[in-house]
Symmetry: C2
Subunit: 467 residues, 2 copies
């Protein structure tokens, strides 16, 4: 009996199985919350490190704003509130007493950050103000699904203020490409489609929402990250104003952008197979596991030395000395967890001066001389990373159908995505598709670049069912 429900039998069930059996996460005690276990959290830490470095390279600085936001803040920006109010968790009792003004547990921090930006921005010299926050947020979910839609999730939210509309727009595009797309393609090995959200799908209060859409193993789409150009909508409400070089009072232009633990769900569903997770080497917090096949003194000593050599070469390595558990069970476990490279060392391998190298992605299994194993591992990590991306690109392209009509777009969405001229869909077609649960994921130009508005001529719409 397979450890996991096969993907072809029941994809959602397979997903839950992987989450649980690879020890990524569990449901929390309060409905819709989750416990992220060490193996899952290790992946999140690596995601954070990679995204954080890219955010800092774009000049933004980290800060921290409070979890609790006065309820009154949510009455200021009507459109924004409408988007969030059904999802709010509200603290009414604290310190043993009923609060005079209830406080909201942040669903996002636009309002409170806007308030402080208004204090900190006085002159054009204070702009651009580029802030980012790593935190938890809470949105009460009716149909929670682990990592994808949880009542509490972890994320980063960037918030920036600029002196001009052009600068704000350029920065939201820079984050989209240099932070999100670059991270997702190069590290996650996910060839996301990057484009503009339609007016119907954009963030409440935004003038433009840009997004990265990932293709999942069942052909559905997952929104992996978004970058919003907010125009002056928030700045007007929160009075983020500055004196320009001529001494004239101006209203700033703002952006916001975020990715979350939802990316863990995307990673699982994009790369997983019937044996479990497959982690791209550049992301993996355990890139290589050295498996001691049998409790033999020489094998143990050589395995430890090997792990040290790999660590010294900068490889993130784990040593599995649990020889009281059968090799088969341990192998199944490491396959489930998707460790890119496994080195199995037993007495016979050692006698031959060899180690067995097993690659999770390409599934190659070959004896490798112990003498040159570090170089071989470094090479394998690179080729496995490339192989995973190539496979994902091929899968994505095979599952995108070029169609000409709404009817064909809907049909193609049963098993993949449809690519269709946006003027064949339009706002009306979009509403019609929505009645069967199909959405326009994003719009791009013919050359794949991101349009400035959905009114540009000759745009392409990516249409799909989505998580």
């Amino acid at each position: 009996m397979p450890v996991l429900t096969p993907q072809a039998d029941d994809f959602p069930r397979w997903y839950q199985d992987v989450v649980s059996k690879a020890e990524l996460a569990e449901n929390g005690p309060v409905r819709g919350t989750m416990v992220i276990r060490p193996y899952g959290y290790g992946l999140w830490e690596r995601m954070q490190a990679e995204v954080d470095a890219r955010i800092k390279a774009c000049g933004a600085q980290n800060a921290y704003f409070p979890l609790f936001i006065p309820q009154s803040y949510f009455q200021r920006e009507a459109e924004h509130v409408e988007g969030f109010s059904p999802e709010l968790a509200v603290v009414t009792i604290a310190g043993g007493k009923e609060l005079e003004e209830p406080v909201v547990v942040r669903p996002t921090s636009e309002t409170v950050i806007g308030e402080y930006m208004a204090k900190w921005v006085q002159s054009y010299r204070d702009l651009p103000l580029l802030l980012n926050q790593w935190s938890n947020v809470v949105r009460w979910e009716l149909r929670p699904r682990i990592f994808l839609r949880t009542t509490e999730f972890l994320w980063q939210e960037g918030h920036t203020a600029h002196a001009t509309s052009a600068d704000a727009r350029a920065y939201s595009e820079r984050i989209l490409h240099e932070v999100y797309e670059d991270f997702m393609v190069r590290v996650l090995a996910m060839p996301v489609v990057v484009g503009l959200k339609t007016v119907k799908e954009r963030f409440a209060g935004a003038v433009n929402s840009l997004s990265c859409e990932g293709m999942m193993g069942d052909g559905k789409a997952l929104q992996m990250g978004t970058s919003h150009e907010l125009g002056q909508n928030f700045a007007r409400v929160f009075e983020i104003e500055f004196l320009d070089a001529e001494g004239t009072r101006q209203t700033a232009w703002t952006t916001s952008w975020g990715v979350s633990t939802r990316m863990l769900g995307g990673l699982i569903m994009a790369h997983g197979d019937d044996d479990g997770l497959r982690v791209p080497p550049r992301l993996a917090h355990v890139q290589v596991v050295v498996v001691v096949v049998r409790a033999d003194d020489e094998v143990i000593a050589r395995s430890r030395a090997l792990a040290q050599e790999l660590a010294a070469a900068g490889v993130r390595v784990h040593l599995d000395e649990r020889t009281d558990i059968s090799l088969g069970r341990r192998v199944t476990d490491w396959e489930l967890k998707g460790i890119p490279v496994r080195l199995e060392l037993g007495p016979r391998d050692l006698a031959d001066g060899m180690v067995t190298m097993v690659r999770r992605i390409s599934r190659e299994k070959a004896p490798t001389p112990l003498a040159g194993v570090v170089a071989a591992v470094l090479g394998a990590l690179d080729t496995e990373q490339d192989a995973l991306l190539d496979e994902a690109i091929a899968q994505r392209d095979a599952r995108i159908a070029d169609v000409d009509s709404l009817e064909d777009a809907r049909a193609a969405s049963e098993s993949g995505w449809a690519r269709v001229a946006w003027d064949r869909v339009g706002t009306e077609g979009e509403s019609e598709l929505a009645t069967s649960g199909v959405t326009v994921r994003c719009l791009t130009r013919r050359d794949g670049s991101v349009p400035a508005s959905q009114d540009e001529a000759d745009l392409v719409a990516y249409v799909a069912r989505a998580y």
Copy 2:
């Protein structure tokens, strides 16, 4: 007029001034919450990185448990609950409806982590289970003070389960010394006194609480971090049980330990002076600021090159090109922020092939040849780190009075700490001191090591007023 209230005039006022003028943090909109600004958060990120690396070196893994805990969990461990219930924030409304069971915003995660540990621990092979979490927690504070006592704060909380009492005890001591004491002394340059809390002062539910106590600039004490040995108290309540090697069911032994953003308050009050913060070089996220004195093309070019050379040598450097702001104002700002080394470069310096190096801690100011400046800066960072620690040790020792009676201990607490034989104080003396706001901070053996219980003979008590 000085930028800050002098310490000698009003120490609490000086503290608030530094927090605000060095742009470390501000009060949040909900009473008792705080906004940590980029300069303050940068210090916290460095604290996290240093503490996290040490935690991982002790074998613990990071995980994440939910913010929301069912109220019922808080009724299980009576003693623990008593400690926290007046401080709880409770969500009663979510998703637009009254909740059937209100949920508590975590004040600490013992209860929820205990619940999951019980699921994950089955056999002695699963032990020790070493978990850590970086998160926010909420405790409704009646008398909030920024960083020191805030309604929401950021921290790490470690939770571990062990097969034996001895193993749990050894681990709580290992965390105390190898993570907390090592970090505080070597990185924060704070010569904390490390000892055992009295029964009166220990954590609700612990059998032993160990702590690191820091000396502040006004002679008061600040508890900088704690490591608790919880015996089987929590394990019994949450049924963390395992089968030992003989197949007998046993109850586990647990520990918990944490440090928080409170350390930022300790850093300010331990090292700050009338000109502002003084950041130890090893902690600093900005170790060196290169100040362009005047807007001159050659000066700007050379300053940029200098910043790049320093960065290439691994120095965390910031380039200040704001020549539209007076040099005096910028210098005041960098002194306020406590940047360890400042390099000022103007046209005259450049003509002489020199740069002016100013050290924040030793206050040395000297022209330095541009040719060897990288090596000079690396040397200065080391000597400034040492100088700060030496100064802190001298200050601490000068402010600790060896006394023989309760009366003298109380008197000494007016301006520093008292060191007194614990058998001169005892539980009764402790209660008497408490009536004048003086507490036993911790107990040590004569040789400075940490005792196993307050009943050991010949212990020393450190007595002080505390934040």
